[in-house]
Symmetry: C2
Subunit: 168 residues, 2 copies
Amino acid sequence: MKLIIREANTETDWLTGIWPIFREVVRAGDTYTFAPEIDEETARQQWMLPAPAGVFVAVKEDDGAIIGTSFVRANQPALGGHVANAAFMVAGDEAGHGVGRALAEHALEWARGANFSAMQFNFVVSTNVRAIALWKHLGFAIVGTIPEAFQHQGLGRKVDAFVMHRFL
Amino acid sequence: MKLIIREANTETDWLTGIWPIFREVVRAGDTYTFAPEIDEETARQQWMLPAPAGVFVAVKEDDGAIIGTSFVRANQPALGGHVANAAFMVAGDEAGHGVGRALAEHALEWARGANFSAMQFNFVVSTNVRAIALWKHLGFAIVGTIPEAFQHQGLGRKVDAFVMHRFL
């Protein structure tokens, strides 16, 4: 499968590509803190961040379908603004095909180009083992553990969240 | 010194009490990531959070002067919304007189009353030893360390930031 990763073009990409993925991922309640029944406008505000943040989509070259999305932004304002934050979502039926990895490698490169000196994930659900393995493979380390920070909807209990970090 | 801690009454408290403290604290560039020359409107948006967050002031009983401020909010949306986040600022000439401690004890009590089950600080500058000692005294533990996350304006280099946490 050939993938193109490009900047999201707000309205069309959101409605036909990103929002369906966002809704599906969040509804599962196993990776993000957003309300599983989040409404479209709230979701849009959380994901379609204005510049200087970057919002991206992964597009299948053959049929043009959006099958993943990411954003990269500063994790803190001015005096912490050299550390990037990023988030990723992949359509459920495309999981395991390298889409998340391609989005993450792109995000790291984009963050370097934007002069960030590190990237931090604030809330990686500890049971999301596939994502954690990928982040470690890409050079991230667990630098913190927030106990019982996530109300996991699949497991029916509170699970830990990790803070992960790498220099760029 | 007798202190009263009460909810902030947006306009008057902000302009005559909170904003002068905010500006002074942030200008030093040694504890918060906000731009040292932040403008009033941006600062107001960062601190004067709408309900269900709480914004508070510490007032000297004798002359009614505001000498400290805090806020308490959810650190994450829905599935992480049981963990509170809080921040504190004290007027420079009142430091060391127990104002920060009184604000923090109040914030913990308020968070318990609002049914939060834990409190997390996302970004405690590692060189802010007085604050760290106070948080530890109040039951917080360092659960994470973000390397070189803060551009310290006094020390002229990047210093680590801690994530701190306690159950309520």
